[in-house]
Symmetry: D2
Subunit: 347 residues, 4 copies
Amino acid sequence: MVRFDSDYMAGAHPAIMDALVRTNLELTAGYGNDPYTTEAKDLIRKAISLPEAEIFFLVGGTQTNATAIDGLLARHEGVLAADSGHIAVHEAGAIEASGHKVLTLPHHEGKLSAEDVDAFITEFYADETYPHMVAPGMLYISQPTEYGTIYSHDELKALRDVCRNHQIPLYIDGARLGYALAADNADFTLSDIAQLADVFYIGGTKQGTLFGEALVVTRRELLRNLFPLVKQHGALLAKGRLLGVQFSEMFRDGLYLRLSRHAITMAKRLTEAFAEAGYTPVIASPTNQQFFHLPNNLIDKLREQASFDYWGVRGEEYSTVRLVTSWATKEEDIDKLRRVLQHICQR
Amino acid sequence: MVRFDSDYMAGAHPAIMDALVRTNLELTAGYGNDPYTTEAKDLIRKAISLPEAEIFFLVGGTQTNATAIDGLLARHEGVLAADSGHIAVHEAGAIEASGHKVLTLPHHEGKLSAEDVDAFITEFYADETYPHMVAPGMLYISQPTEYGTIYSHDELKALRDVCRNHQIPLYIDGARLGYALAADNADFTLSDIAQLADVFYIGGTKQGTLFGEALVVTRRELLRNLFPLVKQHGALLAKGRLLGVQFSEMFRDGLYLRLSRHAITMAKRLTEAFAEAGYTPVIASPTNQQFFHLPNNLIDKLREQASFDYWGVRGEEYSTVRLVTSWATKEEDIDKLRRVLQHICQR
Amino acid sequence: MVRFDSDYMAGAHPAIMDALVRTNLELTAGYGNDPYTTEAKDLIRKAISLPEAEIFFLVGGTQTNATAIDGLLARHEGVLAADSGHIAVHEAGAIEASGHKVLTLPHHEGKLSAEDVDAFITEFYADETYPHMVAPGMLYISQPTEYGTIYSHDELKALRDVCRNHQIPLYIDGARLGYALAADNADFTLSDIAQLADVFYIGGTKQGTLFGEALVVTRRELLRNLFPLVKQHGALLAKGRLLGVQFSEMFRDGLYLRLSRHAITMAKRLTEAFAEAGYTPVIASPTNQQFFHLPNNLIDKLREQASFDYWGVRGEEYSTVRLVTSWATKEEDIDKLRRVLQHICQR
Amino acid sequence: MVRFDSDYMAGAHPAIMDALVRTNLELTAGYGNDPYTTEAKDLIRKAISLPEAEIFFLVGGTQTNATAIDGLLARHEGVLAADSGHIAVHEAGAIEASGHKVLTLPHHEGKLSAEDVDAFITEFYADETYPHMVAPGMLYISQPTEYGTIYSHDELKALRDVCRNHQIPLYIDGARLGYALAADNADFTLSDIAQLADVFYIGGTKQGTLFGEALVVTRRELLRNLFPLVKQHGALLAKGRLLGVQFSEMFRDGLYLRLSRHAITMAKRLTEAFAEAGYTPVIASPTNQQFFHLPNNLIDKLREQASFDYWGVRGEEYSTVRLVTSWATKEEDIDKLRRVLQHICQR
């Protein structure tokens, strides 16, 4: 069985496991007050070319989103997001659980357009009843999106400008940020992201760490008192250094990007394998998630030897499925998938 | 200036004011533990033919919705509603503030179809990722809707059946319930509503009381401990008898329906006045809210002598406006509106 | 039966009812956008000698506390209060329901001392683990307290100074503020309260209106966006003018203080009646709430002809009870109480 | 420098790290749907002799408490706890952030007495105003407590009986449960805990895993829908198997208890070292936390070679400090501490 269900199926890259083992029996202070966490913050500040940024490490993506959004919004405000956004769909209402509405706009292959965001906010305040409605207090986007697509530098800049005009912060969910940075058509760097976003996070869980996300606050005045807020959200890791050790490995000499590039290479080969079998992706995703619309009988046969998920509900005859590569995907797994596909489709 | 902005522009029907004045200096226990509240509950139980119903009086609609929905849902559940529903739009995020997501479905002139609701819930549980999503824990509808339309008895029954099949409660926001009951095409009674809904409320504020909504729990096991829950929501009126006195007047001898019928009669005359001027409603509303798509210059001239609100944002040349009648609308106000319309349109 | 259960047993002062009846059939805009509300705000601004204050009218005390406190605190902060404070005891967890801890300090006859508050905050930040604890983000006091006692001007100033030193706002719950102002030993005016408090409210419900509390924000930057916040808390009254009409009557020519003084006069006579029977108050309350420690058999006999509440739990042989006067208490009721007491105690 | 700051200063026991390394590159399903998690659940069910228990693994203690308590309480209910309880002090308001009040009772060396709990609940319902107050909906205790003390089997049974009488669940915070089980005077087993508690958790973070807590629901009907609730609380680990792998190691052949016993042995030696220097613990703690009241100059000198925390605020001349051993404490560290103490005290 070869597995393409998600990018969080393996543990951590061996270099990261080695670092955890190497430091395992050291005794350090808890809650991130340790030298590894300090080192990791410095390495990330350097990688984003923003020495004054505030960095905070959390364990997972949903808790990072919930904590940051709760901290960024006033009580009467909500967060604007694509209706396909992770916070709008797959976080079990974590944003609402801390009291905030997710205000959704229709997505375009997972993305929001600056025009739509601008129009929404402009019309919001043009409606005389707006004080009875939830005010858009920030913008949430994912880079890459839940559909694997990426915003170009121009698109990000346009969204940032809309946010600045309306004086709301721009937040970027970077659960898979490395896979966006490593995409063939990426025309932005990590430093660009840090310049454009007010707050964002660099995902670790799906990128090669055991777990962990690095929340970056580029304008500190927007999100103060992160420590108690993180604690209140139940998101403070006692042995905080585990996050520091892992992110130090990631950013000491470019491991983060190298692992991301590998996943992209694997994704392209995977797409080629499907193309050879006559199936092109339903969305032109340049990242590690690939979506195909396949006949159910092909899916059924494929699933005997390869695991992957439906994207939404199984259809009558055709269904959309998602296959995901990662830093851990092996070439031989792609090769096996290709052979299985060839075998099924030849019959 | 004649005013059609809303149905909460006047105080209370004089009979209600008289009752409040008559009882004003009596000393009674607070928080609804008074004979007037007891009487009002009994009168409503009789009016809905449901002797075992639990009744609780609250001050306003948003707090009634927020309290009831919070009490009906488990923490991980959300409330299904039309995307035009009051809780989804004009309650400033009160539902989310108590931790629950409003799951929206597209409306059809303010209404939800049983098919859509059924399909949503069925597909929700067909999606393998559903434990990561907010589960639909109840259904919210408004009768009449925010567009003035009403659900027929069959439509209500179909929605109720879908809810029963999926084992979620049906909640009806009856802020303007009387206006639905008094509609020409209404094929349901108040008792029918009580039979069909698990929980609903009978609005007072827009129907002739100074304020007040009567929350009706037809199946008590669904919503226990209302008293502390209402208190916790800041929605417990110290002088609870003010609500009892008012609802007793409303339900002692049919005042509630009589006032509702008057508003419907006024709405029909108002619609006739527009029809004479060449404008028919954009939505066939049988209740007290009427919507027209008018040229902006007509709107501007009309507003010199009549007040009413835009429905959404003012357009480039045409805009949609809403005119609302109520128990307090006078025939002469409609007549004046007719004359103004004639005068403007003749030019 | 004469009744001393609480100060919210009657409706409104007749002058207020007259004003409500007089304006009843007028049509005005909702949600406080009406001339009566504007007038009431201006009258209060004049009464507190603070032209730039923001005023917002809400229906009841719990919702006023919950809304204001929610607006004043950051997410990671809690509110400091006496352990006898209304928000700590009798609001059914409304503060916690909006996510904030009530940090309690021991009370001294209902009051907090500036020393205790200062020591708490100082020790809080001296504890190295403070980022794991709820930070004191504001101070809540009641004037008069839940025990009927009042803070002197010096005591208020000392508390205000502690708050300023620690840069947290001082909030005063004035549900019965008039009864404090009218106390014989009151050495502060309403203007003093407005000078000392950052935010406070002037209670109406217990002071002669049907309902309603006037929230006063003396430093607007502390509590912006009140309208949507109030709406989100379900605390926005549709017919907002009902609050404006009532508070205009209260503050147009001193009715508020006149009614308060009457209650104090009645409280003194009530205390005299008990003194004649040999019982002095357990707390030297200069306001309208009086507490007595009485033998249970006296209580039982008294309750046959007078109603009042236990203060806490009934004891084995003696219990503490509370008797409350108000603007609506009649001299003849006190006289009757005196006669009943004499009659019982003579036997 | 020898370190006794806390029991979460080291990583994981080497056997656990080995297991994580061994399984690191396997690909498994996420969110706990993997064979290691299944195995760990089965091992724990066996260890607690309760085959029907529901087990759920979370990352940290605060999130476990917040999630479980939120799931166990109705909206209008609060959680009873000692005023020294972790949820009352050091969780930054996480319980209140999900809407629930922590109702505190005075502790006795960290413990609650069954009498106090019974009296509180009995008096609560004897107070006629109780519907205005937060109802005690469950009982929270820590075993061992924050002061290192433990409840005996009889004390636990008495608390359990009080809970049963008042029909509220008993929840045990077992962040350091192993250290209680390994105490010399422990007269209960893990199975006893499972028999007595309705819900409890077996801590991993402080007991030898990298992180992780095993929440055990002994009566499933009390806490359904854990998966979406955990997700909503941001507490669902993507690579859930990391928890399964670790807890499998812990419970496969008794590692959990062996590690706990080691910490107790170390704590006893540490106490002996202080006793030799003339200082006995201020609390008779049989577990891994030891508290001493020491002269500040001794503390200052000691801290040059040993790290540990103040317990509360540093006093004028004497202060209370806490020294903590763990599964990772080495005999040579204790020996060094003893020598340093001897050296200081001889001068």
